[in-house]
Amino acid sequence: MRVINLLCQYLIPAFVLFTVVYGFVKKVRVYDSFVSGAKDGIGIIMGIFPYVLAIFIVVKTFEASGAHDFLKRMFSLASGPLQIPPEVFSIAIVKPFSNAASLGIFTEILKTTGADSLGSIAAAVIMGSAETTFYVLAVYLGSIGIKKTKYLVPVCITADIMGIIIAITLVKLMF
Protein backbone atom coordinates (compact mmCIF):
# COMPACT_ATOMS: atom_id res chain seq x y z
CA MET A 1 0.00 0.00 0.00
CA ARG A 2 2.76 2.39 0.97
CA VAL A 3 4.46 1.82 -2.37
CA ILE A 4 1.29 2.64 -4.27
CA ASN A 5 0.76 5.73 -2.16
CA LEU A 6 4.28 6.90 -2.83
CA LEU A 7 3.90 6.22 -6.53
CA CYS A 8 0.78 8.30 -6.64
CA GLN A 9 2.48 11.16 -4.87
CA TYR A 10 5.15 11.18 -7.54
CA LEU A 11 2.77 10.73 -10.44
CA ILE A 12 1.84 14.37 -11.03
CA PRO A 13 5.26 15.91 -10.33
CA ALA A 14 6.85 13.32 -12.61
CA PHE A 15 4.32 14.09 -15.31
CA VAL A 16 4.96 17.84 -15.03
CA LEU A 17 8.74 17.36 -15.12
CA PHE A 18 8.47 15.05 -18.09
CA THR A 19 6.21 17.49 -19.96
CA VAL A 20 8.55 20.46 -19.59
CA VAL A 21 11.74 18.54 -20.28
CA TYR A 22 10.25 16.79 -23.29
CA GLY A 23 9.01 20.13 -24.60
CA PHE A 24 12.46 21.66 -24.10
CA VAL A 25 14.11 18.79 -25.95
CA LYS A 26 11.66 19.26 -28.83
CA LYS A 27 12.60 22.97 -28.89
CA VAL A 28 9.23 24.19 -27.66
CA ARG A 29 9.22 27.58 -25.91
CA VAL A 30 7.66 25.94 -22.87
CA TYR A 31 6.83 29.11 -20.96
CA ASP A 32 5.07 30.80 -23.89
CA SER A 33 3.34 27.57 -24.76
CA PHE A 34 2.07 27.09 -21.20
CA VAL A 35 0.74 30.63 -21.01
CA SER A 36 -1.05 30.44 -24.33
CA GLY A 37 -2.73 27.20 -23.28
CA ALA A 38 -3.67 28.42 -19.81
CA LYS A 39 -5.26 31.55 -21.30
CA ASP A 40 -8.38 29.59 -22.29
CA GLY A 41 -9.09 28.36 -18.77
CA ILE A 42 -11.01 31.35 -17.48
CA GLY A 43 -13.24 31.49 -20.55
CA ILE A 44 -14.22 27.86 -20.16
CA ILE A 45 -15.09 28.30 -16.50
CA MET A 46 -17.11 31.45 -17.20
CA GLY A 47 -19.07 29.31 -19.63
CA ILE A 48 -19.82 26.54 -17.16
CA PHE A 49 -20.48 28.78 -14.15
CA PRO A 50 -24.26 29.13 -14.69
CA TYR A 51 -24.59 25.35 -15.03
CA VAL A 52 -22.66 24.72 -11.85
CA LEU A 53 -24.79 27.35 -10.10
CA ALA A 54 -28.02 25.69 -11.24
CA ILE A 55 -26.88 22.32 -9.89
CA PHE A 56 -25.72 23.80 -6.61
CA ILE A 57 -29.04 25.57 -6.02
CA VAL A 58 -30.91 22.31 -6.48
CA VAL A 59 -28.56 20.34 -4.20
CA LYS A 60 -28.39 22.89 -1.38
CA THR A 61 -32.09 23.70 -1.27
CA PHE A 62 -33.02 20.03 -1.47
CA GLU A 63 -30.88 19.28 1.55
CA ALA A 64 -32.13 22.29 3.52
CA SER A 65 -35.82 21.70 2.79
CA GLY A 66 -35.92 18.46 4.74
CA ALA A 67 -36.85 16.47 1.64
CA HIS A 68 -33.53 14.70 1.91
CA ASP A 69 -34.21 13.60 5.50
CA PHE A 70 -37.65 12.44 4.48
CA LEU A 71 -36.23 10.28 1.69
CA LYS A 72 -33.70 8.85 4.10
CA ARG A 73 -36.46 7.86 6.51
CA MET A 74 -38.42 6.23 3.70
CA PHE A 75 -35.39 4.23 2.70
CA SER A 76 -34.64 3.12 6.23
CA LEU A 77 -38.17 1.68 6.34
CA ALA A 78 -37.46 -0.23 3.16
CA SER A 79 -33.96 -1.30 4.10
CA GLY A 80 -34.96 -3.17 7.28
CA PRO A 81 -36.41 -6.21 5.52
CA LEU A 82 -33.61 -6.18 2.92
CA GLN A 83 -30.98 -6.10 5.67
CA ILE A 84 -29.11 -3.20 4.19
CA PRO A 85 -27.70 -0.55 6.50
CA PRO A 86 -29.94 2.51 5.98
CA GLU A 87 -27.02 4.95 5.95
CA VAL A 88 -25.96 3.48 2.65
CA PHE A 89 -28.92 5.10 0.94
CA SER A 90 -27.87 8.61 1.98
CA ILE A 91 -24.56 8.12 0.22
CA ALA A 92 -26.33 6.67 -2.78
CA ILE A 93 -28.65 9.68 -3.11
CA VAL A 94 -26.10 12.39 -2.43
CA LYS A 95 -23.06 11.10 -4.30
CA PRO A 96 -24.45 11.83 -7.80
CA PHE A 97 -24.89 15.49 -6.81
CA SER A 98 -22.02 16.47 -4.62
CA ASN A 99 -18.71 14.94 -3.67
CA ALA A 100 -18.21 17.20 -0.67
CA ALA A 101 -21.64 16.40 0.77
CA SER A 102 -21.18 12.67 0.26
CA LEU A 103 -17.78 12.80 1.97
CA GLY A 104 -19.50 14.49 4.92
CA ILE A 105 -22.10 11.74 5.15
CA PHE A 106 -19.42 9.09 4.75
CA THR A 107 -17.43 10.37 7.73
CA GLU A 108 -20.69 10.57 9.66
CA ILE A 109 -21.33 6.86 8.96
CA LEU A 110 -17.76 6.01 9.97
CA LYS A 111 -18.18 7.89 13.23
CA THR A 112 -21.55 6.45 14.20
CA THR A 113 -21.21 2.83 13.08
CA GLY A 114 -17.44 2.31 13.29
CA ALA A 115 -15.09 1.80 10.37
CA ASP A 116 -15.45 -1.98 10.32
CA SER A 117 -19.25 -2.13 10.11
CA LEU A 118 -21.04 -3.46 7.07
CA GLY A 119 -22.60 -0.04 6.56
CA SER A 120 -19.19 1.63 6.44
CA ILE A 121 -17.80 -0.90 4.01
CA ALA A 122 -20.82 -0.68 1.72
CA ALA A 123 -20.68 3.12 1.87
CA ALA A 124 -16.95 3.04 1.09
CA VAL A 125 -17.48 0.86 -1.96
CA ILE A 126 -20.25 3.15 -3.21
CA MET A 127 -18.02 6.19 -2.60
CA GLY A 128 -15.29 4.61 -4.69
CA SER A 129 -17.42 3.23 -7.48
CA ALA A 130 -19.95 6.04 -8.03
CA GLU A 131 -19.29 9.45 -9.53
CA THR A 132 -20.78 12.93 -9.11
CA THR A 133 -23.00 12.35 -12.11
CA PHE A 134 -25.02 15.55 -12.22
CA TYR A 135 -22.00 17.72 -11.65
CA VAL A 136 -20.13 16.01 -14.48
CA LEU A 137 -23.19 16.37 -16.71
CA ALA A 138 -23.54 20.08 -15.93
CA VAL A 139 -19.87 20.85 -16.44
CA TYR A 140 -19.24 18.76 -19.54
CA LEU A 141 -22.45 19.74 -21.34
CA GLY A 142 -22.15 23.35 -20.20
CA SER A 143 -18.61 23.66 -21.47
CA ILE A 144 -19.73 23.31 -25.09
CA GLY A 145 -23.29 24.56 -24.78
CA ILE A 146 -25.16 21.34 -25.57
CA LYS A 147 -28.90 21.83 -25.06
CA LYS A 148 -30.44 18.71 -26.58
CA THR A 149 -29.16 15.79 -24.54
CA LYS A 150 -31.36 13.09 -26.12
CA TYR A 151 -31.50 10.05 -23.81
CA LEU A 152 -28.28 10.79 -21.90
CA VAL A 153 -29.86 11.74 -18.55
CA PRO A 154 -32.09 8.65 -18.26
CA VAL A 155 -29.10 6.49 -19.19
CA CYS A 156 -26.95 8.08 -16.47
CA ILE A 157 -29.66 7.72 -13.83
CA THR A 158 -30.33 4.06 -14.71
CA ALA A 159 -26.60 3.38 -14.71
CA ASP A 160 -26.21 5.04 -11.30
CA ILE A 161 -29.01 2.97 -9.78
CA MET A 162 -27.54 -0.20 -11.29
CA GLY A 163 -24.11 0.75 -9.98
CA ILE A 164 -25.41 1.13 -6.44
CA ILE A 165 -27.29 -2.17 -6.58
CA ILE A 166 -24.13 -3.84 -7.87
CA ALA A 167 -22.03 -2.29 -5.10
CA ILE A 168 -24.43 -3.35 -2.34
CA THR A 169 -24.82 -6.87 -3.73
CA LEU A 170 -21.05 -7.28 -3.99
CA VAL A 171 -20.49 -6.14 -0.42
CA LYS A 172 -23.21 -8.48 0.86
CA LEU A 173 -21.68 -11.37 -1.07
CA MET A 174 -18.10 -10.70 0.02
CA PHE A 175 -18.60 -9.81 3.70
Binding site: F34, I146, L152
Partner: protein, 194 residues
Protein backbone atom coordinates in the same frame (compact mmCIF):
# COMPACT_ATOMS: atom_id res chain seq x y z
CA UNK B 1 -32.36 18.05 -17.33
CA UNK B 2 -35.13 20.65 -17.49
CA UNK B 3 -37.68 18.29 -16.01
CA UNK B 4 -35.39 17.14 -13.19
CA UNK B 5 -34.43 20.68 -12.25
CA UNK B 6 -38.03 21.84 -12.17
CA UNK B 7 -39.16 18.81 -10.21
CA UNK B 8 -36.45 19.00 -7.55
CA UNK B 9 -36.98 22.73 -6.99
CA UNK B 10 -40.74 22.27 -6.62
CA UNK B 11 -40.23 19.41 -4.17
CA UNK B 12 -37.76 21.46 -2.16
CA UNK B 13 -40.04 24.50 -1.87
CA UNK B 14 -43.00 22.31 -0.98
CA UNK B 15 -41.07 20.39 1.63
CA UNK B 16 -39.57 23.41 3.26
CA UNK B 17 -43.03 24.99 3.46
CA UNK B 18 -44.54 21.88 5.05
CA UNK B 19 -41.72 21.34 7.52
CA UNK B 20 -41.52 25.02 8.41
CA UNK B 21 -38.04 25.46 6.98
CA UNK B 22 -38.84 28.11 4.39
CA UNK B 23 -36.16 30.35 5.89
CA UNK B 24 -33.59 27.70 5.36
CA UNK B 25 -34.61 27.30 1.73
CA UNK B 26 -33.76 30.93 1.07
CA UNK B 27 -30.55 30.70 3.03
CA UNK B 28 -29.52 27.55 1.17
CA UNK B 29 -30.16 29.20 -2.18
CA UNK B 30 -27.80 32.08 -1.44
CA UNK B 31 -25.29 29.66 -0.03
CA UNK B 32 -25.46 27.78 -3.32
CA UNK B 33 -24.52 30.97 -5.13
CA UNK B 34 -21.50 31.39 -2.92
CA UNK B 35 -20.49 27.75 -3.23
CA UNK B 36 -20.77 27.84 -7.03
CA UNK B 37 -18.47 30.88 -7.20
CA UNK B 38 -15.97 29.21 -4.90
CA UNK B 39 -15.92 25.99 -6.91
CA UNK B 40 -15.56 27.87 -10.18
CA UNK B 41 -12.78 30.07 -8.88
CA UNK B 42 -10.97 26.97 -7.76
CA UNK B 43 -11.60 25.39 -11.15
CA UNK B 44 -10.23 28.41 -13.03
CA UNK B 45 -6.81 27.80 -11.53
CA UNK B 46 -6.82 24.05 -11.99
CA UNK B 47 -8.27 24.03 -15.48
CA UNK B 48 -5.88 26.71 -16.71
CA UNK B 49 -2.97 24.83 -15.20
CA UNK B 50 -3.79 21.61 -17.01
CA UNK B 51 -4.63 23.39 -20.24
CA UNK B 52 -1.22 25.03 -20.08
CA UNK B 53 0.53 21.74 -19.54
CA UNK B 54 -1.36 19.94 -22.28
CA UNK B 55 -0.54 22.83 -24.63
CA UNK B 56 3.15 22.10 -24.07
CA UNK B 57 2.50 18.45 -24.87
CA UNK B 58 0.66 19.52 -27.97
CA UNK B 59 3.40 21.84 -29.18
CA UNK B 60 6.04 19.21 -28.56
CA UNK B 61 4.10 16.74 -30.68
CA UNK B 62 3.84 14.15 -27.92
CA UNK B 63 0.09 14.34 -27.91
CA UNK B 64 -0.07 13.01 -31.45
CA UNK B 65 2.20 10.11 -30.54
CA UNK B 66 -0.02 9.33 -27.56
CA UNK B 67 -3.08 9.42 -29.71
CA UNK B 68 -1.50 7.01 -32.19
CA UNK B 69 -0.61 4.70 -29.33
CA UNK B 70 -4.02 4.64 -27.66
CA UNK B 71 -6.01 5.40 -30.77
CA UNK B 72 -6.72 1.78 -31.57
CA UNK B 73 -8.21 1.03 -28.17
CA UNK B 74 -10.30 4.20 -28.11
CA UNK B 75 -11.51 3.66 -31.67
CA UNK B 76 -12.93 0.30 -30.65
CA UNK B 77 -15.52 2.05 -28.50
CA UNK B 78 -15.72 5.41 -30.23
CA UNK B 79 -16.27 4.22 -33.77
CA UNK B 80 -17.13 7.54 -35.38
CA UNK B 81 -13.99 9.41 -34.45
CA UNK B 82 -11.68 9.71 -37.46
CA UNK B 83 -8.16 8.37 -37.07
CA UNK B 84 -5.68 10.87 -35.64
CA UNK B 85 -8.37 13.27 -34.42
CA UNK B 86 -7.27 15.30 -31.35
CA UNK B 87 -10.27 14.09 -29.34
CA UNK B 88 -8.67 10.62 -29.16
CA UNK B 89 -5.82 12.08 -27.13
CA UNK B 90 -7.96 14.19 -24.85
CA UNK B 91 -10.29 11.26 -24.18
CA UNK B 92 -7.28 9.04 -23.44
CA UNK B 93 -5.74 11.58 -21.07
CA UNK B 94 -9.06 12.09 -19.27
CA UNK B 95 -9.59 8.36 -18.82
CA UNK B 96 -6.03 7.89 -17.57
CA UNK B 97 -6.48 10.72 -15.06
CA UNK B 98 -9.70 9.09 -13.88
CA UNK B 99 -8.07 5.68 -13.52
CA UNK B 100 -5.38 7.11 -11.27
CA UNK B 101 -7.92 9.09 -9.27
CA UNK B 102 -6.59 12.50 -10.31
CA UNK B 103 -9.94 14.26 -10.19
CA UNK B 104 -8.27 17.65 -10.50
CA UNK B 105 -6.75 16.73 -13.81
CA UNK B 106 -9.68 14.70 -15.08
CA UNK B 107 -12.21 17.55 -15.21
CA UNK B 108 -10.14 19.95 -17.34
CA UNK B 109 -9.09 17.15 -19.66
CA UNK B 110 -12.71 16.05 -19.90
CA UNK B 111 -13.79 19.57 -20.87
CA UNK B 112 -11.04 19.53 -23.46
CA UNK B 113 -12.30 16.19 -24.78
CA UNK B 114 -15.83 17.58 -25.04
CA UNK B 115 -14.54 20.56 -27.03
CA UNK B 116 -12.62 18.26 -29.34
CA UNK B 117 -15.69 16.07 -29.82
CA UNK B 118 -17.74 19.18 -30.55
CA UNK B 119 -15.58 19.84 -33.64
CA UNK B 120 -17.02 16.64 -35.11
CA UNK B 121 -20.59 17.72 -34.41
CA UNK B 122 -22.67 19.17 -37.25
CA UNK B 123 -25.45 20.29 -34.92
CA UNK B 124 -23.67 22.18 -32.14
CA UNK B 125 -26.58 22.29 -29.67
CA UNK B 126 -27.30 18.59 -29.98
CA UNK B 127 -25.32 15.88 -28.25
CA UNK B 128 -23.55 13.22 -30.32
CA UNK B 129 -23.38 9.55 -29.45
CA UNK B 130 -19.63 9.79 -28.89
CA UNK B 131 -20.18 12.54 -26.32
CA UNK B 132 -22.79 10.46 -24.54
CA UNK B 133 -20.47 7.49 -24.45
CA UNK B 134 -17.68 9.62 -23.07
CA UNK B 135 -19.90 11.15 -20.37
CA UNK B 136 -21.38 7.79 -19.39
CA UNK B 137 -17.90 6.30 -18.92
CA UNK B 138 -16.98 9.34 -16.85
CA UNK B 139 -20.08 9.30 -14.64
CA UNK B 140 -19.78 5.60 -13.88
CA UNK B 141 -16.33 6.17 -12.37
CA UNK B 142 -13.36 4.10 -13.40
CA UNK B 143 -10.98 4.83 -10.56
CA UNK B 144 -8.53 2.01 -9.77
CA UNK B 145 -7.79 2.75 -6.11
CA UNK B 146 -10.03 5.07 -4.07
CA UNK B 147 -7.34 6.77 -1.98
CA UNK B 148 -9.55 9.32 -0.24
CA UNK B 149 -11.94 6.66 0.97
CA UNK B 150 -9.14 4.36 2.17
CA UNK B 151 -7.54 7.28 3.97
CA UNK B 152 -10.80 8.08 5.76
CA UNK B 153 -11.37 4.45 6.73
CA UNK B 154 -7.87 4.30 8.19
CA UNK B 155 -8.44 7.57 10.06
CA UNK B 156 -11.53 6.21 11.74
CA UNK B 157 -9.79 3.11 12.99
CA UNK B 158 -10.59 0.50 10.37
CA UNK B 159 -8.77 -2.75 11.12
CA UNK B 160 -7.89 -3.18 7.45
CA UNK B 161 -8.93 -0.36 5.10
CA UNK B 162 -7.56 -2.22 2.10
CA UNK B 163 -10.38 -4.76 2.15
CA UNK B 164 -12.48 -2.35 0.16
CA UNK B 165 -10.05 -2.20 -2.78
CA UNK B 166 -11.15 -5.44 -4.38
CA UNK B 167 -14.94 -4.94 -4.07
CA UNK B 168 -14.60 -1.34 -5.23
CA UNK B 169 -12.59 -2.38 -8.25
CA UNK B 170 -15.05 -5.11 -9.17
CA UNK B 171 -18.03 -2.80 -8.56
CA UNK B 172 -16.46 -0.06 -10.66
CA UNK B 173 -15.67 -2.42 -13.48
CA UNK B 174 -19.09 -4.08 -13.58
CA UNK B 175 -20.98 -0.81 -13.19
CA UNK B 176 -19.01 0.91 -15.97
CA UNK B 177 -19.61 -2.01 -18.29
CA UNK B 178 -23.30 -1.98 -17.32
CA UNK B 179 -23.50 1.78 -17.91
CA UNK B 180 -22.04 1.44 -21.40
CA UNK B 181 -24.38 -1.49 -22.01
CA UNK B 182 -27.39 0.59 -20.94
CA UNK B 183 -26.32 3.38 -23.27
CA UNK B 184 -26.12 1.00 -26.23
CA UNK B 185 -29.52 -0.45 -25.26
CA UNK B 186 -31.07 3.01 -25.19
CA UNK B 187 -29.49 3.76 -28.55
CA UNK B 188 -31.00 0.64 -30.07
CA UNK B 189 -34.38 1.25 -28.50
CA UNK B 190 -34.34 4.89 -29.52
CA UNK B 191 -33.55 4.18 -33.12
CA UNK B 192 -36.43 1.73 -33.30
CA UNK B 193 -38.79 4.25 -31.71
CA UNK B 194 -37.63 7.07 -33.97
Amino acid sequence: MNAIWLLVICISVLFSAVSGRIDEFTKAMFEAGKAAVEVCLYLVGIVSLWLGLTKILEDSGLIYKLSNFFGAAISLLFRNIPKGHPSITSITLNLLANLFGLGNAATPLGIRAMEDLQTLNNRPDEITFEMMLFIVINTSSIQLVPFTVIGLLANYGSSNPNVIILPTLVATFISSATAVGILFLFKKFNRRAG
